[in-house]
């Protein structure tokens, strides 16, 4: 269960780009979600918000944030916020086909990963079509606002890091002297979030509501967020958390979650752990959908706050145990590989000097 592709927080964007082109065969294969989604307009009329026994709007279930919609709006759409029904259907169809090809292409290279067993592929997980041209909805141009000069400088400096790190030049030399040189995912420390954004695969969640708490479990590494709803004060700045520290409350039928106290080096898009605050809004819009909106506010990283909407589609459970550090072959193989390369280079240099 601990098997995973090495996909860093940033490469999901590349993977999403890779997930775009077509075929009809797969549409027929689609299991739970996408095929069922065609009926949701009819279902919507009769759908009534379900409540938990203690009267909260019920957000519980298994959800996926997987999406074929890019974070930022592609230039070809200009100021268009929405696709036509035909465009949305086409992108959805192509996305599903490509995610199938993506997982099965990988399967050919690394036969240990069987997409059908591990449920990595979108066609198993029922991603719903999205009519938006981008996940970013504010600013209205669909683009993440400009970085502050300090943040731009830091991101430029990050290009020198090892190629697995966020914002690094993919051609930068591999650095794997010690475990700390690997990225947080490779180290099984954190796979990021909040916010909840689409990854290339495994973007799956479970929400459970108990007395006074909402729990969100991420499939990645079984990382959890426990969100108290009792109005308690935020933690002091003396305690930092891998996923920040969250407080929630209900505004009508929307769960509003405010998060701060991030750990330096473990923030969304390299934001400042000190000044980053994220507000998330979870609204169940029908039986198979949560509209998930988040606003990122970090004046030391972006010149203004920005907001995105990620549809969370219902998927079939369960979410299995994700043992990551228990079988972390990545860490062993990357470090051992770096040592083997050094040894080979040294031997080559020795041979050359002998010839000369």
């Amino acid at each position: 269960m601990g098997n995973r592709f090495r996909v860093s927080a940033q490469t999901f964007a590349l993977a999403l780009v890779a997930l775009l082109s077509a075929s009809v065969w797969l549409a027929a294969q689609t299991k739970s979600g996408a095929a069922g989604k065609a009926d949701t307009n009819a279902a919507k009329k009769t759908w009534v918000l379900h409540r938990t026994p203690d009267g909260q709007p019920d957000l519980q279930g298994y959800w996926t944030s997987l999406s074929f919609t890019p974070m930022e709006r592609p230039a070809k759409y200009g100021n268009r916020e929405f696709l036509t029904d035909e465009e949305a259907a086409q992108i959805h169809k192509e996305g599903i086909q490509h995610s199938y090809e993506f997982t099965f292409n990988d399967l050919a290279e690394t036969p240990v990963y069987d997409a059908t067993v591990y449920g990595l592929s979108a066609w198993q997980e029922g991603v719903a079509p999205n009519k938006r041209t981008s996940l970013v909805v504010d600013p209205p141009d669909g683009k993440i606002p400009a970085l502050t000069p300090e943040a731009a400088k830091m991101r430029e400096a990050a290009r020198k890091h090892g190629p697995n790190q966020d914002y690094a030049d993919p051609n930068a030399p591999v650095k794997a002297d010690v475990a700390e040189d690997l990225n947080l995912g490779e180290r099984c420390l954190s796979f990021g979030g909040p916010p909840i954004v689409p990854g290339a695969y495994n973007s799956n969640f479970q929400i459970v509501q108990g007395a006074g708490y909402v729990m969100i479990e991420y499939e990645w590494n079984n990382e959890t967020r426990l969100i108290p709803l009792d109005g308690r004060p935020a933690l002091s700045q003396g305690v930092h958390r891998w996923h920040g520290d969250s407080r929630g409350h209900w505004e009508g039928n929307t769960l509003v979650v405010e998060t701060s106290n991030f750990r330096p080096g473990a923030t969304f898009q390299g934001a400042s752990a000190k000044t980053l605050s994220i507000t998330e809004y979870f609204t169940r819009t029908d039986q198979n959908m949560i509209e998930y909106r988040f606003t990122i506010n970090d004046p030391s990283t972006w010149t203004k706050p920005w907001t995105a909407i990620v549809p969370l589609s219902h998927m079939e459970g369960p979410i299995p145990e994700y043992d990551c550090s228990e079988n972390n072959n990545d860490a062993v193989n990357i470090l051992a590989g770096a040592r083997a390369s050094e040894k080979a280079a040294a031997e080559k240099a020795k041979k050359i000097s002998q010839i000369n």
Partner: protein, 304 residues
């Protein structure tokens, strides 16, 4: 090291916490206290647990044990920890009474020998990129998921989030998480474990006000303690959680594994509700504290 430091602190504080709770339950000092009202350890007066909105006993809350079973589930003396030359009392392990009913674990003879070998090699770590990595060393030392029932007596709190169909147990230690499937004939949660896992595959139900959890589908790698007590992948654990006061759960687990033990055996101890104002779980992601221990031999400069 941090784990043993914390365990030392917690265990040291435990008697104080219990004492404070006991005195809080006593009537005001000015009236003559009736001796029978002072709680006797191990003997809880009759109690009816509050129920959730859907009519089940409510286990929501943050819980922690205060036994020293993580060191040894059987009776044991205090002992020096690793490297007493630099760790001093920080690294020393407290003594304690065991949690095994009847005191003895009914090992098969060859299994007892394995337990002893485990204990001798509890700090011998040899990480490979295959299953041989699990051959030696206490999994807790390596920050691996502790399994059941050990997760419930590690010196860290855990939180129960209870809904109708699922009960989640979220542990502060590492990324340890259990999902207890409560729904009958849940098509998303088949009766048989879909795959072996560290925390097992758990179905729960209520017997009166007792939560009963049946867990199978374990990997053979977890230990019950630092003393090398272990099991095979045939492990079957049945746990019983009963609220015996607003602040206590009486916990009981029956352990069955015909590959290792001659008969089923039982552990029991109370779990205490954490009562600090605004108490919450924080992160103990020990993965970052064990990287050098695990991967050091593959570092560029392994000695440094």
């Amino acid at each position: 090291m941090k784990a043993s430091l914390l365990s030392l602190l917690l265990v040291t504080c435990a008697p104080i916490a219990v004492q404070a709770q006991t005195s809080a339950q006593q009537p005001p000092a000015r009236t003559a206290p009736a001796a029978s009202k002072i709680a006797t350890p191990g003997d809880f007066p009759a109690y009816k647990a509050p129920h959730t909105a859907d009519g089940k006993p409510d286990f929501d809350g943050i819980w922690q044990s205060f036994v020293t079973a993580d060191i040894d589930i059987q009776d044991h003396d205090a002992q020096a920890g690793p490297h007493p030359d630099i760790m001093g009392a920080y690294g020393a392990w407290p003594g304690g009474q065991g949690i095994v009913e009847g005191g003895e674990i009914p090992y098969k003879p060859e299994a007892l020998a394995q337990k002893k070998a485990n204990a001798e090699k509890r700090m011998l770590v040899n990480i490979t990129s295959d299953d041989r990595r699990h051959d030696t060393g206490d999994p807790e030392l390596k920050c691996y998921r502790p399994g059941i029932p050990r997760a419930n007596y590690e010196p860290f709190p855990f939180q129960i989030i209870q809904s109708t169909d699922h009960i989640m147990m979220v542990y502060e230690f590492g990324h340890t998480l259990r999902t207890i499937y409560m729904k009958d004939n849940d098509k998303e949660a088949p009766k048989e474990a879909p795959a072996d896992s560290w925390m097992g595959w758990s179905h729960g139900h209520f017997e009166g006000d007792t939560l009963v959890i049946d867990t199978t589908g374990f990997v053979p790698y977890t230990w019950f303690d630092r003393a090398g007590d272990y099991h095979s992948d045939a492990l079957h654990v049945v746990e019983r959680y009963t609220l015996v006061s607003p602040y206590h759960i009486m916990y009981e687990a029956t352990i069955e594994d015909p590959n290792v033990f001659t008969r089923p055996w039982k552990v029991s101890f109370p779990l205490y509700r954490r009562m600090e104002k605004n108490v919450q779980l924080v992160d103990f992601d020990c993965v970052e504290f064990v990287e050098k221990l695990l991967y050091g031999p593959y570092y560029k400069n392994p000695g440094k």
